[in-house]
Symmetry: C2
């Protein structure tokens, strides 16, 4: 019964869905009382519970399954860290402002919207070559640098949309939110733009926890911040957003093979490869084994996480037909990245990037090593000695000691501990330089090349050092939640009767306990049932109000409670209740004594509704009154 | 076997514990690679898992049990909100700086430390009256305002401790971390100092979800930030810290009774009441019913949450003997608060406030109402009409319309919707004032008293409006985690052999799967067992290394894994393993087929180890080799 939920189908339902989101406070703009702040949203009880559930399942699916090290690092991040990572210099969007009012716009957005509007408005009146020019600009505008952007804005006469005023020259605006830590140190800092850096900085500690061995993975669930110039699009583009990220550290010589990938070589996943994009074709399903063999996906480690991501998304209720993995174009990736794929989900606003999977090579560990002078490396250990061309450094320790006194020892220790790659770099550096300055524990120490000799030798070694590569799957929880909500939303024959078909483990509340009519005797049973469910940690909602049962069902359906228990007259005589499933509205009669374990097993996915149907007698409900 | 873990016992173990915390990366200072930032800590895998588990149990114990509305509001908070809440003006500590170096100190801390040092150093040489003076200052210094603090610093010759330099005059330093949202609006904002405001701002939405009825509670788990002047004390005083807060909204006329409190009237909890403190006595156990009856605790609602808090702390592994609830002194409470208690836990650093339980009256809802002109009220609905003295406002609508045109309608609507209390306030205001300015939708509208008449009447009403009061239990997760770690830490006869006696639901990893000796056949069984546990969402750690079993046990003990499965020769013939419990180190022989469900039930607290002992045969292990 899998439905193709394309953009049009989802758009049609959108208005009704928006009403439910607002009426049932699934999420809503934050600070509405104070006029609101763009790009900030509060999750209400329903949205918050779904968020908690998909995070918890992410833990089971990824952290427990792969034995990842989950950590919780801080949001506050000193500037030096983000300088090293490249964010201070490069985490920017081009900003243009209305010259008179100062209103800020994202340059690429305003160019795109202006040109799209002209195309829509002028229609056939627009000359073919002008239209072609517009479309070409729209396609590439997000890659333009300052100069190019300025040129285009002048050439195409782009103005501030509300006023028609001129725009200031495009300037890079850093998207990190700044703050200052402490009254006396006044340490400049930012709110982290991603959770990743915390995992890179803890690499050495985690490597130690793993007994010095790679591969291993770190994981973190937490908030990221992005000072968007002009956020729109609800949960899809927020200034504060929940992420779940994995940094999987691998030996670069081993990342092409991943043992557990064998399970998935026949799994078919829709891919939109670089080639398909170049050929202007649609995504198409590939067997994952073939995708790696044919070189479409760079390595098995990356492919394995694509498979796991796909399975996760399907398991939490994303329609599989509306998932595709899009490969980044060569000019879209960071220079250090060897391959990068986005899990995109089709929603009412089109295909939306919800998970990014990147091979980040050794970029991040290298960056922090360079900035701090601390080594972030692992070692390949051999069972039998291996012959290796080894570059040895021979230091004139006596002279160094004389020159640098106590600091000489630190310098000697530091240089001798360099990795093979770093020794090679140093060797090349001294080909053209007389001296090199090392920053060790905050001191600049100079080492003249006269004090260093290099020797190349073939040696039998028991280990060699290397900087691990990183495969990074990064999940945007808010976007995934929006996708689940859109894909799960349904209307019955009466379109006012809406319901969410959530997977039970994602559902915000697991079951409702209702009475057929308001009645004190029923209330006793309801409270006892609620209490026995709560003891098992199962969330439930009770309703013994004096309204029609149909209305009670409608209320629980509207927030996607998968199972409804109803207490009726028969309950008092036979100690049984009826249990109703949300999508089919079918009901069975179940002894009260069975209920807690039944709901527990249903809501944790241990059994399915179809299992319940075979075990208990169907209950022919009277037509629900409205 | 309950041990009195007083400060001395805990201090003795502290050094060994610190080593484990570091070696196993339970938590560690953040940004160590970059020299570190005081007051920021990263949780490693063990700490992070414990944190997740105590949060999850908090959800079950409070949110599910009380049907609270959990929300997730933003950390970024515009200045206007925190101006209204009082934080911009009053969330400060007094800062003094070294006049030459600029180093900042918290005035109260530096005074205390200086005087304590003098007392310790000079001992008996110190004149009795001087010593008495010092002790009096130490007792009250945290309540001193700027002038008084300045006076004391001058009088007692307090200097910068490292340099002996003079100190600047004390000035209030705001403890919120500032930021700026957006490039063009440049909205001044702060990182929230508590999660509470997000719940107050969403009060109206949540009231609607509850069908307009109070009482109901909101809950939020998330980060708070505090720009401490000079943070020390590890997890006990951080600049970024996880909180779990409840705002329980009640009808002030009903808060003295709370139906579910009846369950706990005989529960004994150690209280340190205002009176006991005044009498310089120790805390003592009270039956909670008596504590309310005797007026020690202000009302049943507050008392109920004290009970639930106590039970929560005990359930997650805090030693009950080391918990007390300390009542705030009258001058320690906010002016609007009618009663306030802290759950304090005894740790190696003494008694530490870990949970605050405050009756905040209507302060917060009032503050945001006043600031925004939006009503944050609930209504008492009556089944039969009730006679009430009602103050009616009669407006001269014609003249208002003439004077204010369109705005007149907004003003009329606004004034007519005032609550009974607000009408009373307005009546009193006009006794002494000619006109009042209302800020409605951002416009200042003036209403002259000539246009308003008041009439008092007895009327039969079906409802009356009121501003709910708030009972606020606020939990510091980091502090509680520190307490659990300290209370659970143990050393065996060999003090190098340490273990944590965590309650299974708090334990970071639920079980380990070990082999007696390294062996490929054993590894197959280990992997199968791990896979079947993971399917149930149970975290486990496998170890098939070639080291002695005793060493493997030591590794899993050190991070508090409660259950260890061992695969041995007999496993291959009888399809059974041994299961060992961490505290007793007793082992039983269990069929493999029983294992997954057994571990699931043990780790969720459905069954206890003693149940396992009665069901399965004891396994006489050979002495563990070290």
């Amino acid at each position: 019964m899998l439905q193709q939920l394309n953009k049009e189908v989802l758009l049609k339902r959108r208005e009704a869905l928006e009403q439910v989101i607002k009426r049932r406070f699934i999420y809503q703009p934050a600070f509405s009382l104070y006029g609101g702040v763009a790009g900030l949203y509060d999750y209400g009880p329903v949205g918050c519970a779904i968020k908690t559930n998909i995070e918890q399942y992410w833990r089971e699916h990824f952290i427990i399954e792969e034995d990842l090290f989950e950590i919780s690092a801080t949001i506050l991040t000193p500037e030096a860290v983000l300088k090293a990572s490249g964010h201070v210099d490069r985490f920017t969007d081009l900003l243009v402002c209305d010259v008179k009012l100062g209103t800020g716009y994202r340059a690429d957005k305003i160019v795109t919207e202006t040109l799209e509007n002209r195309i829509a408005k002028e229609g056939d009146k627009l000359a073919a070559d002008v239209k072609a020019r517009y479309l070409a600009v729209i396609k590439d505008v997000d890659t333009f640098k300052e100069d190019k952007m300025k040129e285009i804005i002048a050439e195409l006469q782009i103005k501030a949309p509300e006023t028609g005023n001129d725009l200031t020259d495009p300037t890079p605006f850093n998207l990190m939110l700044p703050t200052i830590i402490g009254p006396s140190t006044k340490l400049p800092a930012y709110l982290r733009p991603e959770t990743a850096q915390g995992m890179f900085l803890n690499f050495a500690r985690l490597l130690e926890q793993n007994g010095g061995r790679v591969p291993f993975g770190a994981a973190q669930i937490g908030l990221g911040f992005r000072n968007e110039i002009a956020p729109r699009g609800g949960l899809l583009r927020c200034r504060e957003f929940q992420m779940a990220e994995i940094e999987y550290f691998v030996d670069p010589s081993e990342k092409s093979t991943f043992k557990k990938f064998n399970k998935y070589i026949n799994l078919e996943i829709p891919l939109l490869s670089r080639q398909l994009q170049a050929d202007a074709k649609l995504h198409q399903p590939y067997k994952m084994g073939d995708a790696v063999k044919e070189g479409i996906i760079n390595n098995e480690t990356l492919a394995y996480f694509i498979c796991r991501t796909y399975l996760y998304l399907v398991e939490i209720g994303i329609n599989p037909i509306n998932i595709r993995f899009r490969q980044h174009q060569a000019d879209e990736m960071a220079h250090y990245s060897s391959d990068c794929w986005d899990a995109e989900i089709e929603m009412s606003s089109g295909w939306v990037e919800c998970v990014g999977l990147a091979d980040r090579s050794a970029y991040d560990l290298n960056a922090h090593s360079t900035a701090t002078g601390q080594k972030l490396q692992a070692a390949r250990k051999f069972k039998v000695p291996q012959p290796r061309q080894v570059l040895q450094i021979i230091l004139d320790k006596q002279k160094i000691g004389k020159e640098l006194k106590k600091d000489g020892m630190s310098l000697i220790k530091y240089v001798e501990a360099l990795s093979d790659d770093e020794k090679q770099d140093l060797f090349e550096y001294y080909q053209n330089n007389e001296e090199k300055i090392f920053n060790i524990d905050g001191k600049d120490l100079t080492l003249n090349r006269q004090l260093v000799k290099f020797e190349k030798k073939t040696m039998n070694v028991m280990e060699e050092k290397f900087i691990p590569h990183v495969i990074e799957p990064a999940f945007g929880i808010g976007r995934i939640l929006q996708a689940i909500i859109e894909h799960s939303f349904n209307q019955r024959d009466d379109p006012q009767k809406t319901f969410f078909k959530f997977s039970p483990r994602v559902a915000p509340v697991k079951c409702s306990i209702l009475s057929v009519v308001q009645n004190e005797e029923f209330d006793v049973v309801i409270q006892e049932l609620a209490s026995s469910l709560k003891k098992l940690g199962i969330s439930c909602k009770t309703d013994n109000a004096g309204v029609a049962l149909g209305k009670k069902y409608a209320r629980t359906d509207e927030i996607g409670i998968p199972f409804a228990i109803t207490v009726d007259k028969e309950t008092l005589t036979t100690q049984s209740i009826t249990l109703r499933e949300i999508e089919t509205t079918k009901q069975v009669r179940v002894p009260i004594v069975d209920v807690p374990r039944l709901i527990l097993e249903l809501s944790s996915g241990l059994i399915l509704w179809t299992d319940v149907l075979t075990k208990y007698p169907l209950f022919a409900a009277k037509e629900e009154d409205a």
